[in-house]
Assembly symmetry: C2
Homo-oligomer: 146 residues x 2
């Protein structure tokens, strides 16, 4: 059995973010990749939708400029022939402040010939924003919860 | 081929939320279900972790008391033998204010003998909070994005 594309992609991604080694990840992204990290792009300009390998590599470089991955735990994973989904828990360090950030992430990927062609990532964004701000945002309690 | 447990569960869940018909969903949840909807529980007390069928049915009743599902689109879906993951886009109405809420959700489910035993749901929570508040939360731009 050959290794699933997810594992190779995941290793290359973390090597790019932590070691600024971008050669491996470059070969694992399709020229026509369709990519979206959902979240508040006003605060984190590297979030949002991107089309094409060049734009996606640029996002990965920006993430590498801002965060270090201390550890990640894959809580759930589903593997298809050319697809994968997982729920992960990341422990990051924000490089500008040296602050720890802990984050839950859901990720859906599709591959073609071993290269990433589609990526959708959802983050517990409110939790992320509060940690990045370094303070809680006051929220009213919603009513009608009988 | 028999129908995947996900489709039966999804129909029953939406019938519970929109029509307050809880009989079907009751039969599709395992007594020992392990359940978590990640998000700000201060604002939405029905979010968070729950153990057991009784606690989960209570959550579904609270969601039914607060929201109506206008439509949902399953953007991505992966089906395993007894598992399923999907990324969905929900259009809800908040019942207390009659306000529309549009929401992206990632959901990972596991079934045993057709009954739900594990559910993990991640929501684009910052987007949810802003819509529930009815106003944007001002965010500073993160630096070091070269």
């Amino acid at each position: 059995m050959t290794e699933h594309s997810l594992w190779r992609f995941s290793r290359a991604l973390h090597r790019a973010i932590n070691d600024r080694h971008f050669e491996d990840i470059e070969t694992l992204i399709d020229e026509d990749v369709d990519w979206a990290l959902y979240g508040p792009i006003d605060m984190f300009p590297f979030l949002g939708a991107r089309q094409g390998k060049h734009a996606v590599l640029d996002v990965i470089r920006q993430i590498a400029n801002n965060f270090h991955v201390r550890r990640f735990d894959r809580e759930t994973v589903m593997l298809g022939i050319d697809s994968a989904s997982s729920m992960l828990r990341y422990s990051l360090t924000a490089l500008d402040s040296d602050k720890p950030i802990s984050l839950r992430v859901a990720q859906f990927a599709r591959f073609r010939a071993g290269r990433l062609i589609n990526m959708r990532v959802l983050v517990d964004t409110f939790d992320l924003v509060e940690q990045a701000l370094g303070r809680p945002i006051h929220l009213p309690k919603m009513t009608r919860l009988g």
